[in-house]
């Protein structure tokens, strides 16, 4: 069956491979301007940008013959928990015919969750299903590990853009691996390749933490490649969330030990859905770990992040860490973001009493 999934940056490699292991064909396109326009056209005005990009992605795929949409649900209070159902209603109103599978939280209903896995997996045996999930889980964590390496290498690269090119090759390498052993091998090769990039090892980059709502933090199309832009300006970024962490927390039975949540308590002692509380907590942690600044990414109209934004100035003052909030919507332009980032970096350098960052 032709299937469409939400596109989520490099993690798509693992998700695609997972679904394709069960005789499906994943036809998700990487989101483009056109995807966003399509999504905006059919979305309510106040929907957030992830909603609009996803709707656009689905429409493009349905036009290309997709028969099944697979996505995740949730039980709030973040609005995304209702997106699957609302997307379905809107798409049906537009006249598309398809099957929609929304994976709700495992703790909601075992039967429902495993029933849906069965539906996607066809008549594959449970052993094969779990083996496949385990393989793709490995792929996902490897991709996230490599991404972390990229964040370290990029600000030190001698030739701008070199790291990005190498990383694209490395992602392909991981995508082609067919077993856990091969994935591990690809990881080793990937690390080697990234380390082989000519770098200025003496350079002391600024360190900036990136926090915010998971979709806009993970998907470069939504955040206008903020990590890459910062990296090439010579900033070492650290992301507070990775898909592998999120999945671990939301699907397995790992007791939620979240240092960010504990750190948030003096400022916001309540789970508010999405990543609102984590945003506050991660800022505290970055402050305590002597980062130079924090960039807060959030979709326009995102409720939890609005709550976080109104608390962050206090955190910023108390923990002595500068915070820049960027609300992203369909009208956000790359140059506008770049200008604000440059100004923010100037400010951080001044705070340190440094004039220039790049020695070269």
């Amino acid at each position: 069956m032709k299937v469409v999934l939400p596109y989520l940056s490099n993690s798509h490699v693992a998700l695609k491979s997972l679904i394709e292991s069960f005789d499906h064909q994943v036809i998700t396109n990487q989101p483009s301007k056109k995807t966003l326009s399509l999504g905006v056209q059919h979305s309510p005005e106040f929907a957030c940008i992830p909603f609009k990009i996803l709707l656009g992605t689905y429409i493009e795929a349905l036009e290309n013959g997709a028969e099944m949409i697979i996505t995740s649900g949730g039980k709030g209070p973040c609005r995304a928990g209702h997106y699957g159902q609302l997307h379905k209603e809107i798409l049906e109103d537009l006249g598309y015919e398809f099957e929609m599978i929304v994976f709700e939280s495992l703790t909601d209903s075992f039967r429902d969750f495993f029933g849906k896995i069965r539906k996607v997996a066809g008549d594959a045996s449970w052993i094969r299903i779990f083996k496949t999930i385990w393989r793709e889980w490995n792929r996902l964590t490897v991709l996230d590990k490599l991404q972390q390496k990229v964040h370290k290498v990029r600000p030190r690269e001698l030739k701008p853009g070199h790291t990005t090119d190498v990383f694209d090759e490395v992602v392909d390498l991981v995508a082609q691996a067919e077993s856990i052993a091969e994935i591990k091998e690809a990881k080793k090769q990937g690390i080697d390749k990234l380390e082989a990039i000519p770098q200025n090892k003496d350079f002391e980059p600024l360190k900036i933490g990136i926090i915010g709502e998971i979709y806009v933090v993970l998907e470069p199309f939504a955040n206008l490649e903020v990590e890459k832009v910062l990296g090439e300006m010579g900033v070492e970024v650290d992301r507070s969330i990775y898909l592998s962490d999120w999945t671990e927390e939301h699907s397995f039975f790992v007791p939620a030990e979240d240092p960010a949540r504990d750190a948030a308590k003096p400022y916001l002692d309540q789970l508010i859905g999405g990543h609102g509380q984590e945003s506050v907590g991660s800022t505290v942690l970055y402050g305590q770990n002597d980062y130079d600044g924090v960039i807060h990414l959030a979709p326009f109209t995102c409720i939890p992040e609005i709550v976080a934004k109104s608390i962050l100035p206090e955190v910023s003052k108390e923990e002595d860490i500068p915070v820049l909030t960027l609300f992203l919507d369909e009208k956000t332009g790359g140059e506008g973001i770049r200008t604000r980032l440059e100004a923010f970096i100037d400010l951080l350098l001044q705070k340190q009493g440094r004039k220039e960052m790049k020695i070269s």
Partner: protein, 331 residues
């Protein structure tokens, strides 16, 4: 006497009679903020993050209006009252938002009201709050019981068709005539209590419609069991309390088809409402007998604009019902 300030917005329109009786029974003096006004809105807009919705900005304005006159601010953190649905994330973070955004505040009383782990939590909250003002547990129990009675009465008035403001006046012994004459038209106004019942925010919409000869019904007028019947039309129940009530009320009125129109009143920047609005709109599209309109209200909304739209809407409903009647007589 201890003075506790309660902002006259948001949960005020739902729970104030409950809080009032409870706190007054414990010997507390309640100070309310002034009625919503241009000054209050402007003050709130200035202090709140620009991305917040109008009701949250308004809340900050009311707090500013109160803060210098009281010993405590009462801003309960409403998480879940029925043990199932929760409130909008902005309600969940409200005390923290206020504390972070505004300076020089008196201490905030923010009991966490989260009954998802059982009713026992409610008693804990009641006692924790009560012991701040009295050491006599009997007095607390009595106050809570009395508060519950008053709140019940308040809800009965709401069900009978009074607005929240009228129902509170009635609780205080005022005589109010609903003036239920012959109305040709019946319109459901669906919106959060803090929007439709605040005369300034809603620019007196309910009163205007009544003056136009329209019988107004609201979500509060549907008894709870009736409301719960209608969730079969939903593929997934909304997890926010007010939104859940609103969408079920919408489905109820669509299903009963005894209203001529449904007006959805929403605030600019309201997070959950884009889902509610789209679902109500799509439902309206599937049905031919009830017409649907959405009115968005923000801090700049003028009375004339809203009145014009209401008049046009009522004219259209009248035309429509005339046409239906004449077609009936022909056949």
């Amino acid at each position: 006497m201890v003075k506790i300030g309660i902002p006259k917005t948001l949960a005020y329109y739902v729970y104030f009679p409950l809080w009032k009786t409870f706190l007054e029974e414990l010997g507390v003096k309640i100070i309310l903020s002034d009625d919503t006004s241009r000054e209050i809105i402007d003050a709130g807009v200035k202090e709140t993050v620009n991305d917040a919705c109008v009701p949250i900005k308004l809340f900050h304005g009311h707090v500013l209006n109160l803060k210098d006159r009281v010993d405590y601010l009462f801003i309960p953190r409403l998480v879940s009252l029925n043990g199932q649905t929760i409130y909008c994330p902005k309600f969940l973070g409200l005390p923290d938002m206020v504390a972070s955004s505004l300076d020089d505040l008196p201490p905030i009383l923010a009991p966490d009201i989260d009954l998802r782990e059982g009713l026992l939590n409610l008693y804990k909250v009641i006692f924790k709050l009560g012991t701040k003002f009295t050491s006599n547990p009997l007095k607390i129990i009595k106050a809570a019981y009395k508060a519950k009675q008053d709140w019940k009465q308040f809800n009965q008035y709401l069900q009978a068709g009074y607005t929240a403001v009228e129902a509170m006046d009635k609780l205080n012994g005022a005589e109010i005539d609903l003036n239920e004459g012959d109305n040709d038209l019946k319109v459901a106004i669906l919106g959060y209590p803090y929007i439709i019942y605040d005369p300034f925010v809603s620019v007196g919409m309910i009163q205007k419609l009544r003056e136009l000869g329209v019988k107004v019904v609201t979500a509060d007028m549907i008894p709870e069991p009736e409301l719960e019947k209608n969730f079969k039309g939903l593929s997934k129940e909304l997890f926010w309390t007010f939104s859940d009530q609103k969408i079920k009320a919408g489905l109820h009125y669509y299903e009963q088809a005894d209203v001529d129109g449904i007006i959805h009143v929403t605030a600019f920047g309201c997070g959950p409402d884009f889902i509610v609005d789209k679902k109500l709109e799509l439902e309206g599209k599937r049905r031919k007998d009830v017409s649907f309109m959405c009115l968005t209200i923000d801090e700049h909304t003028g009375e004339a604009g809203i009145v014009t739209r209401l008049e046009a809407y009522v004219d259209m409903l009248k035309l429509r019902s005339d046409r239906n009647e004449s077609s009936l007589t022909v056949s």
